[in-house]
């Protein structure tokens, strides 16, 4: 099988022929036709069930990279495979079905403030079904409500199920967002700085939770973090985006923390604006 890990000194994460959840090859994105690329020549892959940490300075294109993986942003070159299926040619309906399999947690929780925590969790199931029974908890059949309650209790929020999300703290909201992503029962979970708006303690709690729950369910996790400790602790593999290209692509075990921290400081930050 294709092994994209090309950088010198690299070893493949898992066995060479382990099936890959995500494979990215020679990816390029440029926002304006005249300007230079945000990044180019990005090549990496994640085995099914593993976790991948993406690090890099602000503006390096980490969010753009995640979005390119589900074509929320269209890449301008290169290829992406999700579970060995190339995503560039997919029709709109097929793309929607692909996205149904992939959870997304954002820096800001993006819950619907007027609706209860339980209803927001229920919305994860909209990736698998459609119609009023998935809209509000009051309309949902018992089985769906119980599943949503199950995920809420997994993130430790069963007591706040009927509280409107506008009344939850940042950490609680992010827990609800994680429960919503789990309710979706995705095969892959993308998390874009899920802890960036939280205080350090809540941030660690959320990362631990996210890592534990995805591991338990065999979900492949791909997360962006500014925390080198988090990247090393929760990532099986770390990739680093800087100066328009992938400058780090290594198993987490083989990188030490000092090396990671210097990754940010040794060259001037690239920030297009």
């Amino acid at each position: 099988m294709y092994s994209p890990d090309k950088l010198p000194g690299d070893r493949p994460v898992a066995a060479l022929n382990a099936p890959k959840a995500v494979r990215v090859q020679d990816l390029r994105k440029q926002f304006s036709p005249a300007g230079s690329a945000i990044f180019e020549g990005i090549t990496f892959s994640i085995p099914c069930g593993a976790s991948l940490a993406i690090i890099g300075p602000n503006g390096a294109g980490k969010s753009t990279l995640l979005k390119c993986c589900v074509r929320l942003i269209e890449p301008d070159g290169g290829k992406v495979w999700i579970h060995d299926k190339q995503i560039s040619g997919l029709s709109r309906a097929k793309l929607r079905r692909l996205r149904n399999q992939i959870g997304f947690v954002f820096q800001k929780h993006q819950l619907i403030p007027e609706l209860s925590a339980l209803t927001n969790v229920l919305h994860g199931a909209l990736a698998r079904g459609t119609g009023p029974r998935y809209w509000f908890q009051a309309l949902a059949p018992l089985e769906l409500r119980q599943r949503a309650m199950h995920y809420l209790s997994q993130v430790g929020l069963s007591d706040l199920a009927i509280r409107p999300c506008s009344q939850l703290s940042g950490g609680q909201s992010q827990r609800v967002a994680i429960a919503r992503a789990l309710m979706q029962e995705p095969k892959i979970l993308l998390a874009d700085e899920p802890t960036a708006s939280l205080d350090p303690r809540a941030a660690s709690e959320i990362m631990t939770l996210l890592h534990r729950l995805t591991q338990e369910s065999g979900i492949t996790l791909m997360f962006v973090s500014h925390h080198m400790e988090h990247a090393k602790e929760y990532g099986d593999h770390i990739i680093g985006l800087k100066n328009r290209s992938l400058q780090l692509n290594r198993p987490a075990k083989s990188v030490d923390l000092r090396e990671l921290k210097s990754f940010f400081s040794e060259t001037p930050l690239y920030a297009a604006s």
Partner: protein, 221 residues
């Protein structure tokens, strides 16, 4: 003018009950026209709002229709409907319905466009269908604003429904026109008082409802 005001006092009570009937018809016209107008405004506003429209072409079409309904004055709509469905409250109700769509269609669309895009985008990212996203990520957030607009529309309809009677589209306006033509300014005074009370009552009620809603929202934030 002094003479007219003099003749208005005291207001006449001889046609009190027919007048009461007429003003109730006026209120019914306003209520029915507004309710159906609000119901029809919602789909039109969804087609007209940037974040919910299926395509730019549909959006322009919907916006064009709403602008057309709004810019043609309600009196002109009343004349048009009197000519097409005949004299009476049905014509007035239709005119108020169209007028409400012109008003609510615009404000509903604006409220929908102001809804935070984040939650909707988050559901797009996991491939949720547009209808489901509108139901859960757009409408719940737009509901308080749309309710307020609907109440304003009701106030507006009650005021204009009085005038519509003058062109034969039903309600108290016709009574007022007849009293004036027959120089029964004392009767006219009674009618004007009734209108005043109706408009005031509706404004008070809708104002109360709006502030209650606003408080409900505040406790939720």
């Amino acid at each position: 003018m002094g003479i007219i005001v003099g003749e208005m006092i005291p207001p006449a009570t001889d046609r009190f009950f027919p007048m009461l009937d007429a003003i109730l018809v006026t209120f019914q016209m306003a209520l029915v026209g507004t309710v159906f107008g609000v119901i029809l405004s919602l789909p039109l506003a969804l087609l007209a709002a940037q974040n919910t429209t299926p395509s730019a072409f549909v959006r322009h079409l919907a916006r064009g229709l709403i602008s057309f309904f709004r810019t043609v004055p309600d009196l002109a709509w009343a004349l048009f409907f009197v000519a097409s469905v005949g004299l009476g409250p049905f014509a007035g109700t239709l005119a108020l319905l169209i007028d409400t769509i012109g008003f609510c269609g615009r404000f509903f669309a604006e409220t929908i466009e102001e809804v935070d895009a984040g939650p909707n985008d988050a559901l797009t990212a996991i491939g949720v269908r547009a209808t489901d996203r509108i139901a859960v990520a757009i409408l719940p957030s737009a509901l308080p604003g749309m309710t307020a607009s609907s109440l304003f529309a009701l106030e507006k309809s009650v005021r204009s429904s009085v005038v519509l009677g003058l062109v034969g589209a039903g309600g108290i306006g016709a009574e007022l026109a007849v009293s004036m033509e027959m120089f029964r300014y004392d009767q006219a005074a009674t009618i004007i008082l009734m209108i005043f009370i109706l408009v005031l009552a509706v404004e008070q009620l809708s104002g109360k409802t709006r502030s209650t809603l606003l408080n409900l929202r505040k406790t939720n934030v």
